[in-house]
């Protein structure tokens, strides 16, 4: 579970610029910041209208940025995490 922040367009942010709403969710557990900030989170009881007039009600978690880019960022983040852990373990083993 982590705290994210949503703006007036329900886009997710990892930091609040003092205009956003804090939301507690487990939808982004294990996800990197770039991934999270490419998503839109609509809380229960609220709705968002897409550019073409289609209305979506909360709760909804869906990307607004090209999902392919988000997936690539997450994959790189996981590779970096793996290498970090491997390097740490190598260091521990060498002691």
């Amino acid at each position: 579970m982590k705290t994210i922040y949503i703006d007036s367009d329900f886009k997710c942010h990892i930091a609040d610029d003092r205009t956003m709403t804090a939301v507690e969710t487990d939808a982004f557990d294990g996800k990197c910041d770039s991934f999270i900030e490419g998503y839109r989170y609509i809380p229960v009881g609220q709705s968002w209208t897409r550019e073409d007039g289609t209305v979506f009600r909360g709760q909804m978690v869906a990307p607004w940025r090209d999902y392919g880019l988000l997936a690539a960022a997450q994959a790189q983040y996981e590779r970096d995490q793996y290498e970090l852990v491997a390097a740490y373990q190598e260091g521990v083993n060498s002691v």
Binding site: R40, M60, A62, R65, D66
Partner: protein, 239 residues
Amino acid sequence: MSIVVPLEGFGGGGTGLNFKVVGGTSQPTNPRENTIWVNTSTSITSYVFSATQPTGSNGMVWISVGASSVVEFNALKKNRLNVYPISVKQYISGKWTDKTAKTYQNGAWMDWAKPYYFVEDGETKTNHTFIGSQASTLVSDDGLLTIKPSGDSYRGLYFSGTKIGNTTFNTEGVFTGNKTYIRIWDKSNTPTDSNFVASAAVDKSNGRLDISAFADGEYFFGFCSLYNETNKIANLWIE
């Protein structure tokens, strides 16, 4: 006989052409018949109708054509040259980017995406797979597909589907639970109750999920609920 042909290099809809391609993020007002509106904030420098990916230049719009089109039109004012648009991409910063488009026909803006039903009138239209190792109960009766998961946690079912220009994933039926969702999964993972990539809660009668940020291609589309909830799906579809 109508045939699908690639067309290249037509610019601003000059003499003899029966259509126009326009860009912008707002739907055009007072459009002519067969105005194709590409929803984009990047200026359109040229457009190509082709069944295969062309060599791109910045701003070029590639309108792919195929037999599944629901917005076919005659490209000529005189004579006949039928064109069958199915999806659109634009070449931006060195790569092709998916865009959505609509065509103005017979007084209305027509979506290009062809609806695809996974469940229609309570009947599954394609093969399904249950989420988790324990099978759920499925009963199709009187226009509704009753699904009751077994086991514990979230369970449900999913279908393999191909998104071509579709922008929403929908369901309608009779839903009694308060933890019921429609979800989409990346094709690279076997769907579980937690590794979805988009999710929308379903209320007592319907649910809708925005899938416009997913590139055209294959995904898993599914319906999940808590193990002790019984739901009745009338329709489950993308459009």
